[in-house]
Symmetry: C2
Subunit: 409 residues, 2 copies
């Protein structure tokens, strides 16, 4: 009765390889979107939890609390206010759907629009998770190169024309216009308006991902695409992962009700986690406006620590910019470096990094690039981690030749 059971003949086609066991975080953790542990507002979260549970803890007895399937209403009300001031978005709380992280937002929007064989346009360097999801869905993701202001509209226009001539109607243009992942670019308002015009001409949805837009060092940002288009043809997503804490799985979708009602019909999870929503709403109403600049300041300092460490350890071998916000630095190493191999060797030495090809549709071009997330490690760990990374890189690829002003040859 308890003979070993063979599951293999029952698996659905295309099931991914089994996960490997998790063995803890690496010593020098530069991957993912982990955040600054010292800036989790623990005391204020405790206060928020206490207040909101005392007041309405009994509502946990009903699915969706007393707020219905769009999510906890006070959180949607906070967001409506925040989005108005921050992103120029005039929407009602009923045009906001709370999701379990912005990843669920991605999944829902993909479910709404995409079938196998469809085509989407996407920034050439972009969020690896978005690329993975598209690959799994069997969707053709056409990469559009970026410049210092993000999406290059000349190439986008050309691709849209090409696809039109081939009779292919792309479903959406996925963009992270405000602190692009991984380049950090912020698209200016003029280009945003052009993008909206172009997308409307071709009847393509703009899928605007604003997960990082709270973390701009000088606090200034252009109006969101959603705002500039009055919500027509734009679906907007955001998250609290980067501005409060990533382990809280709370994101949101903003869309016109005609669109949101269709997305809501696809959200078959009996609601997102209530406690996270309640505590966030209570916390944010009081503290969000003060919390974010403090976090941004700390992140900006860590970015500078990382840039200095890279300059010191890699010299001219590492090329990178000075992003205006966010938690990532996108780095180019010499063409001889294969960052997929580098990532494996570095991990063995305790350093985790995201190799370029996982974050790009142009795999060859990205072969010598990598993304480092600087938000989680403390400054001393950043310095030491970059030192270890330079040692590994030198051992494996012979670069950097000199580092920390010492000739290593």
């Amino acid at each position: 009765m308890t003979a070993p059971f063979d599951l293999a003949p029952l698996l659905a086609p295309g099931t991914p390889a089994p996960a490997v066991k998790w063995n803890g975080f690496p010593k020098y953790n530069f991957i993912g979107g982990h955040n600054d542990a010292k800036h989790v507002p623990v005391e204020a979260l405790i206060e928020a939890a206490t207040t909101v549970l005392k007041r309405e803890g009994a509502t946990l007895a009903t699915y969706g609390l007393n707020s219905g399937p769009l999510g906890y209403r006070p959180l949607r009300e906070f967001l409506a206010g925040k989005l108005k001031g921050h992103a120029g978005i005039a929407c009602s709380p009923d045009e906001i759907l709370i999701t379990s992280g912005s990843m669920q937002g991605l999944d829902l929007i993909n479910s709404l629009l995409l079938a196998k064989g469809d085509t989407v346009l996407i920034e050439q360097e972009t969020y690896g998770g978005a690329l993975t999801k598209l690959t799994r869905l069997g969707v053709n993701a056409v990469g559009i190169p970026l410049d210092a202001e993000g999406l290059r509209l000349d190439v986008l226009k050309q691709k849209l024309e090409e696809l039109k001539q081939k009779g292919v109607k792309p479903k959406y243009i996925y963009t992270i216009p405000t602190v692009q992942n991984p380049t950090g670019a912020i698209m200016g308002e003029a280009r945003r308006k052009e993008l909206i015009k172009l997308a409307a001409e071709h009847g393509v949805v703009i899928f605007e991902d604003e997960c990082y837009s709270d973390l701009v060092w000088n606090g200034k940002r252009p109006k969101s695409l959603y705002s500039l288009a009055n919500g027509e043809g734009v679906i907007h997503i955001g998250s609290f992962s980067k501005s409060i804490a990533p382990a809280l799985r709370v994101g949101y979708i903003v869309a016109k009700w005609e669109v949101l009602s269709r997305i809501l019909a696809l959200k078959q999870d009996a609601g997102s986690g209530a406690l996270e929503q309640m505590v966030l709403a209570e916390f944010c109403a009081k503290h969000f406006a003060d919390h974010v600049p403090k976090l941004s300041k700390a992140l900006h300092a860590k970015l500078q620590t990382l840039r200095e460490a890279l300059a010191e350890q890699f010299g001219t071998s590492a090329e990178f910019g000075d992003p205006p916000g966010g938690i990532y630095l996108w780095i180019k190493l010499p063409d001889t470096v294969d960052t997929v191999k580098l990532a494996q060797a570095a991990l063995a030495a305790g350093v985790s990094l995201n190799p370029g090809p996982e974050w790009s549709t142009a795999k060859d071009d990205a072969r010598c690039r990598l993304r480092l997330c600087f938000a989680n490690p403390e400054p001393e760990t950043i310095r030491k981690g970059v030192e270890v990374l330079a040692e590994v890189c030198r051992r494996e690829f012979g670069v950097p030749l000199r580092s920390a002003n010492v000739d290593k040859k």
Copy 2:
């Protein structure tokens, strides 16, 4: 630039109809799995939140806290202990995956095993959400009739043979063996062993859903199928929705690592909500064992209130049993009653109910049946709601003829 955008040409095929706006709960709420508001342990949850956040709130800065993708380790440790004592399951915390409600468990297991056109075996009367998901996936759900002990194995055996002769290999047998939804049946240990033998002979997975097994009035239950099969060929899911609070979206999957590692590879959500997991783990370690009997006692009393109210208002027109646990009563009305129509008319009068056909694969047989959830409304609301329901039923279908000892003709 802001002309109305037409999304229709871009929608994926088979997109469901848009959701309708939510207008609050009905006055007499007998649907869903809502629970008893007076028994949400608010003070203990506040204490748990305070303790756990003080101790390890800073870990919210990393995805998955410090526990990796299987979920918060102290919660998995609590579950390993609870499942051992309660369900006879000997498993390690690494054979438990925390999910965002048991609904995500259903989705993940469906993703692992099912493709369009596949066949599964399912209890004839069963959880409506499971049926909806199977319909959406284009899976053929073959219903097996139930008796007082649940799944009828004589019919199951016959169906398995029939399918084998047709060359169809069913993927799983979905069962809720401990407090069946909606009938409340508990399958005895002898039948469980027979079921395991039958499934193993045919190489079919048993998908065991134990969402209600904590709520047994006398606290006694047979060992789980997972336990009796030593985990071979069984995937087990459970939830905290019914034992603590449904708005907390925390469920779990128990499976051998060879199976769980495949399920984990499909869980692409960057983890389930951390705060809910942390607070539950802290709460449960101290209070779960005391909390559940108190909740069960209150629910049992509500069930008796509902049964008395039905007897009073419907007389012999309503047939129902006396389930040994859970939060539902499955009721048969005279054959002339169409419960789908009754549900619409009742809702207009403020009474929500689940019509039988949504909870059954045998739509005709279930036409005169309905499910009432008695956990949420207070006793007086139960009595008044049943009175209103009887009035609506009499108006629409002419039954019950007599109620509350008053001839209504």
